[in-house]
Symmetry: C2
Subunit: 501 residues, 2 copies
């Protein structure tokens, strides 16, 4: 939704015009689409809310939405509101009903990808990236200037499996993390997200099942779904994925892949215990299923380092480990890696080839120069300190300004995962929060099989402490107002014990 906060999303109808009000509202929605204020995939305001905004009855809005559903422009989903799925006729593009050509999973992707409408005057807890001020810009500038030139090696096509300098560097760096991998067991990908596509492409056929944690990173389960797989979520508690539920789902669904984030799970922040890690490996062997270990956050611990990676204990070669530069302060370079047993490498390499042929040598060489230097550990140390300061700022501010939010203090990485007070849901909160100038991600975006509406994810890594405090203040006001609109009494929250506040 590309909404200028000073311009109304949908124009008010004119009761004196003689045209039925519901048709005027329908036309105003079409105009918003033509003007680009609304786009395919956007969710419309709830009927009650829009009725309030436009000064009309709820029946009028219901009529307008029904009319637009009949025209193929809107679609209503129980529990997910009303979504734009089509566009009104436009003289220039009338030849082709583009909106009807879009794959349903792409529309689902738009709903997930566009739910964080952070504007310039919005304090955005929504986006999962660190503050650009934390990037090692000067270091990268000097490493870039010093890269060996002249042989064309920076611009030549690189091998599909990755630049040899980077693979060698990664092999050494992984060893310092307890993971023994030869350069031949490392596949370079164009960022971590592409790694997921490579895995999907190598292993999944429509109809296959993938198990993930629930909630989890939406880029993962939507990627698997895009490959035609059915994704089944396995619940996470404070100790990571529940291994009893994992065993049940393995037996029931016989999945082709299991995708886990054992260290500082996104979005919950849970760390899989050493005991559960052993059990996951046993189950992978028992059910003969590859386990993908996404480890983008393991190095960003604040107090206690997570247990050794699954891959570090993988004597049987059942784990494919995923790492990436984005979370190491190289977010814009788009360099990631998969570490896999040799029998899987040929399939992964050809999958990578069909993704984008190869990753640019220039970015690979720069990543290798960074990871192979002492800069990387210094940068990680700084990132840990800075993120911890921001975590503390958020935790303190939420306790003060949002006492009714329940959350566990995250021990690393970028995110807090917070439960809203009943009956408040993220769907109700989000538009109010935006009015107050604060953005968060709704929990539903992280749920592969529905649910999660009672949670929100807050990324504290992107903002300086003073903005975090102001954001929490705005969020607190938005919560109280949203609760008041729902008719719930704005009971002042009482402080609860640290750790599960």
């Amino acid at each position: 939704m590309r909404q200028d906060r000073n311009e109304p999303l949908i124009d008010r109808p004119d009761p004196s015009s003689g045209e039925a009000l519901y048709l005027q509202v329908a036309r105003a929605v079409e105009e918003a689409l033509r003007a680009g204020r609304l786009q395919v995939g956007d969710r419309l305001p709830a009927e009650r809310e829009l009725a309030l905004d436009l000064g009309v009855s709820r029946t009028t809005v219901t009529g307008a939405y029904q009319e637009l559903q009949a025209r193929g422009i809107l679609r209503g989903h129980v529990g997910r509101g009303t979504t734009v799925v089509g566009t009104p006729p436009d003289a220039r593009h009338a030849a082709l009903p583009w909106a009807q050509r879009i794959a349903p999973v792409a529309i689902e992707g738009m709903q997930v990808a566009y739910t964080a409408p952070d504007g310039p005057d919005v304090i955005g807890f929504g986006v999962g990236l660190p503050d650009p001020r934390l990037y090692p810009v000067e270091t990268l500038d000097s490493l870039l200037a010093a890269l060996p030139r002249g042989d064309g090696g920076l611009y030549n096509p690189a091998p599909a499996w990755g630049d040899p300098v980077l693979r060698e560097t990664l092999s050494g760096w992984l060893r310092s993390r307890g993971i023994r991998a030869t350069p031949e067991e490392i596949l370079v990908t164009t960022g971590g997200q592409q790694g997921l596509n490579v895995l999907a492409r190598a292993f999944l056929t429509p109809g296959d099942v993938v198990l993930t944690e629930s909630p989890t990173y939406p880029g993962a389960f939507l990627t698997f779904r895009w490959a035609g797989a059915d994704v089944v979520g396995v619940p996470v508690d404070h100790d990571g994925v529940r291994v009893d539920a994992l065993e049940e789902s393995l037996a029931r669904y016989r999945p082709k892949l299991v995708y886990l984030i054992p260290a500082f799970q996104n979005p919950t922040g849970a760390v899989l215990t050493a005991e559960r890690r052993r059990r996951v490996l046993e189950l992978a062997i028992q059910f003969r299923v590859p386990v993908v270990e996404s480890d983008l956050y393991g190095d960003l611990f604040f107090e206690q380092e997570p247990p050794a990676a699954l891959k570090a204990q993988d004597a049987s070669g059942v784990v494919i480990y995923q790492g990436g530069g984005s979370k190491l302060g190289l977010p814009g370079l788009r360099v990631g890696w998969l570490v896999a047993p040799m029998p899987a490498m040929a399939a992964l390499t050809v999958a990578k080839t069909f993704e984008d042929l190869h990753t640019a040598a220039l970015t690979q060489r720069l990543a290798a120069a960074f990871i192979g230097s002492p800069h990387v550990e210094r940068h990680l140390a700084r990132l840990r300190v800075e993120c911890r300061v921001r975590r503390d700022a958020l935790v303190g501010a939420l306790r003060q300004h949002c006492p009714r939010l329940r959350f566990r203090v995250p021990g690393g990485s970028y995110y807090a995962w917070a439960m809203l007070p009943a009956p408040l849901t993220a769907d109700t909160l989000l538009p109010v929060a935006l009015e107050h100038g604060v953005g968060v991600r709704p929990g539903s975006a992280f749920s592969p099989n529905g649910g999660g509406a009672d949670h929100i994810r807050l990324c504290y890594a992107a903002l300086p402490p003073d903005r975090i405090v102001e954001g929490a203040r705005r969020l607190g006001r938005a919560m109280e107002q949203a609760l008041a609109r729902l008719g719930a009494a704005p009971v002042p929250g009482k402080p609860v014990s640290a750790g599960v506040v």
Copy 2:
């Protein structure tokens, strides 16, 4: 196939050992797999040929192949030979039958991707890239050094739709090619191959049909197939795709996308005529189907510039245009672009997001600096001259050394598409050609629906003229030998008229 030409691929059996010869051969194939000389996706030598090499009867090889099929290691395809689909047990990886976890379409991808085994002493006509000596390395070095630094803009995450500087630059550059596109109508992709994945992701659902030319670029039809679509090939003649056949297939299959390479079609080199271009646009409007125009080669003409791009004539907004830097002497930067009507942009952008979040700002800024400078036209002019010299070298050498090859002189781009004399097929020719130290791509790799075995594609852009002449000499000898093995009389070819030699 990672074969050192001095080391035998498969060890000879020992008749005095007492073990059945066919079991010894089967074990030798497994050893080659364990040693990495053979990999999943490789094609094995034809039975007759391996029998000759090993000094055993053909029955022995047949028995060995059957045994390995029973063990799940080989699979035989009529007309495509015998392919490695599994690996022998290995103590370290016995926990998981990796080979059986690989998606069938990935195995098909390996067969296509791995059929060009160009070694260091092989003259490779197989790979579709220009000679690295033609890359503008010094220009890129100086542009890179001069990129504005200090604001972190080179390392920050870029917007999913692309860096604003590059989009603005491309808008201007496309205008010089007759294509009017605002920056907002341009989506930057991480190379052209990713553009195909973005299109598949935005528009295709398993079971959909895509029409492509036949033959065509395998990276395209396999990408569409990987998305679960059925690909139907439409025949190409010297004037490009046959519009009568296109109309028939549109009516019959009601496809979700049509993918065409109108200018110097890969692999045939055909240029779609102006009249057929008009017809294609009419058909797209009539059947309300998006046409993807892949235009990676249009600027690389030798004598006559191709007619205006479909997109330049697309008044109704039914064409999605695809360009990329790889064919402009920026092959290693991985920067491409899609130009699409606005109603398609939201879906394409979210598809791109799920591919790799965004393309690295560093490579986008470098590409923008190159494309926005006078260097790009100078470089294209040089590329045209150099590729024409190489084309002429290949045409002359094929006429002299391979007089029985039938081909049309390509008017631009990198490839010659040649028909083998009956009964010779690429399957028979390729191993013999490799023995003679020359690599080509088999026509079957370019056929979305089978066939093409009687053609080969030769890329002349990658080699200097003297290597091209030597390669043609080797190819001529290999053809005669392969024909002789087939029992065909080695009739000396008679020169035929230019243009269809």
